[in-house]
């Protein structure tokens, strides 16, 4: 699975999985916001990459297609500390023209997320 340039800027690596891969972002100077914490923008960028990865994997199973972002809502629940962050997307509905996707980012346990996002995509098949 190839990743876009912005995912490389975030330092992401991909752990393949079913039904969606897990993206891993190391803590590094390039993703810091206030000292010692991840930037909310970098967390949002990671969540979006995880959502797109989940959606692409689900679409591949149906013959593929292009996706266009409509909107994204992020809730920030905990500060992102100086450690690895993981994120995974869940396609809650894959329709003909629209997909609804959730994504969570966590550091210790998936049930203690640092942020979650809800994203809607237009699909061009």
């Amino acid at each position: 699975m190839s990743i876009p340039p912005y995912a490389e800027l975030l330092g992401l690596s991909v752990e393949p999985g079913e039904p969606a891969p897990t993206l891993v972002m190391p803590f590094a100077a390039d993703v810091v916001g206030r000292p010692g914490f991840l930037h909310g923008g970098a967390i949002g960028g990671l969540l979006e990459m995880a959502a797109v990865a989940a959606l692409r994997q689900a679409l591949e199973a149906e013959g593929g297609g292009r996706v266009k972002p409509i909107n994204l809502t992020v809730d920030y629940m905990r500060g992102g500390r100086d450690k690895e962050t993981r994120a995974r997307g869940t396609v809650t509905r894959l329709g003909k023209r629209v997909a609804n996707v959730d994504a969570i980012a966590w550091q210790d346990e998936p049930d203690r997320p640092i942020a979650r996002a809800h994203l809607n995509y237009l699909i061009v098949r």
Binding site: G40, G41, A42, N71, T73, D75
Partner: protein, 146 residues
Amino acid sequence: MTETPARGFDPQLLFTTRFGGHGGRLGIVHHAHGDDWAELALPYKPDMIGDPASGVLASGPILTLMDMATAVGVWLKLGAFRAHATLDLRIDYLRPARPGQAVIGRGECYRITRSIAFVRGQAHDGDPADPVANVAGTFMATEGYW
């Protein structure tokens, strides 16, 4: 652009003296500001591309730009820097930004309570009347805004 001096908070200083991290890596700089709003500029760079086929920027950099522009809007309305964290941010992607164009993000704070600041903003790539994104969000002051 008209530059209005802020009372007790100078966003230009923020971007010259203590700026690094993710925003610095993306090259985000001060563009203009007023009493309760700030405009920041995100230069186009190939390493921020989200869709290699079209050259369109990923939305993470635009999210970062708007998170920062709205945060600076809060400090301007307050007239002081206070530690705060983004509680939530919603972004509507109105159209893709044009490859090669810098994106200008304008963030405004329209209401502050002791704990919560309410913000909104728009991003454009040259024509403010033809925005690429619209945002709404809230920040929470860790020690209170006052």
